[in-house]
Symmetry: C2
Subunit: 229 residues, 2 copies
């Protein structure tokens, strides 16, 4: 065994390190929101980005490491989107969720419903990916859940939701179903499923008693917990 080190030729002189890395990640985002990571060859990323393979390995040790960097960039992008739609909006809190869905519908239509959610895409293949992905995906969903729970808590404070609404439980339910709605929107090449899901969710939230008894987050097993794979 040799000590692993950065391989590959240095980046082209006329392009800064940051630019090339950012370029690779941007093309990775475009590809990996549209198709699964195991099905995506590195060559597809490189040819789109116009970056030679040697340069790629200057920035990333493997496709798996690249995928995690793309996922981190997606999480940043999405956190900013949620900040804009759920947190800083001047709309009343519950209407912000509708605005979020409209924004997502518009973005999916702009890409002809070819791109979905990177978190959903990677979650679907989580059994094939290095174990790190599981924790990273769970952490991102946890962040989205907290942001939505805060927005619902504002609605509860305004009296738009009953005082005993379990905002964290409803936020968790939202993101569970939302991934299914994004998948269906891609399949049907239509934003209808997104709109129906959000409408149904808001209706249920306003009409229903608090959903479930307090619960602890699920135990995500470490690889060591598993008997066999």
């Amino acid at each position: 065994m040799t000590i692993p080190r950065r391989r590959g030729r240095p980046p082209r002189a006329d392009r800064s390190e940051l630019d090339t890395r950012a370029l690779l990640i941007r093309h990775g985002l475009e590809l990996l929101t549209a198709q699964s990571l195991p099905a995506t060859g590195l060559d597809a990323v490189l040819s789109r980005a116009g970056v030679p393979k040697g340069s790629f390995y200057h920035y990333f040790s493997s496709k798996a490491e690249f995928g995690q960097a793309v996922l981190a960039a997606y999480a940043d992008y999405y956190a900013r989107k949620l900040e804009r739609t759920l947190e800083r909006s001047t709309l009343p809190p519950l209407q912000r969720l509708g605005a979020f869905a409209d924004d997502a519908a518009e973005a999916m239509a702009r890409h002809r419903f070819e791109r979905g959610c990177l978190v959903g895409n990677l979650a679907q293949d989580v059994g094939l990916l290095p174990e790190d992905y599981r924790a990273q995906l769970s952490a991102i969903l946890g962040d989205w859940e907290r942001r939505l729970a805060d927005c619902l808590a504002l609605a509860r404070a305004d009296g738009a939701l009953p005082a005993d609404t379990d905002c964290a439980a409803w936020a968790r339910l939202f993101w569970i179903g939302w991934e299914g709605a994004v998948m269906r929107a891609r399949l049907e090449r239509s934003a209808l499923a997104l709109q129906q899901f959000v409408d149904g969710f808001l209706l249920a939230l306003s009409a229903a008693p608090p959903p479930l008894a307090p619960r602890t987050p699920p135990h995500v097993q470490s690889p060591v917990d598993q008997q066999s794979r």
Copy 2:
């Protein structure tokens, strides 16, 4: 161009044609519920099934055709499961949905949450797959929707749901969210998301007014409709 014909050597004499085809499909089901079709090499299916590549091409012209046969087998299997849980059960209609979820949770746990829903897995990659898949997946979801809508209509007839409940709309919402719940259960290696989703759905269904105005099913574009890919 030559006229396409079945390639490959005939199956082994000690195994009937039906057996070999069924064996390939069974191993295809095991693999493709756990991982995406583009990421699944034919070799993985063949080595698990103990079938030589030549024999495979006696039954299927391509991996894509094989995938569609696996999907058809999954649809049959699932239709029987829904018949058993939603249609022929002696439970009251709404409790049947809980029993369906319990059954799904038990099955996912038995496979250590490595396998998900084949419809969801293939839907996630629909942009990479031959266009036929889109219609086949939509038809299967339509079948599940009708079966659940019939079950909800029984509950409505029994007075367990309001007389104006839009059973078809609620059934559609259920399957939209269910695919997200299956995805989350795999990610978390826990059935919690399935149970929470079904509990939340039943609660919303019982508490909420009919969700949405009557709607037409979304238009699934044919490839000809698309300007570009």
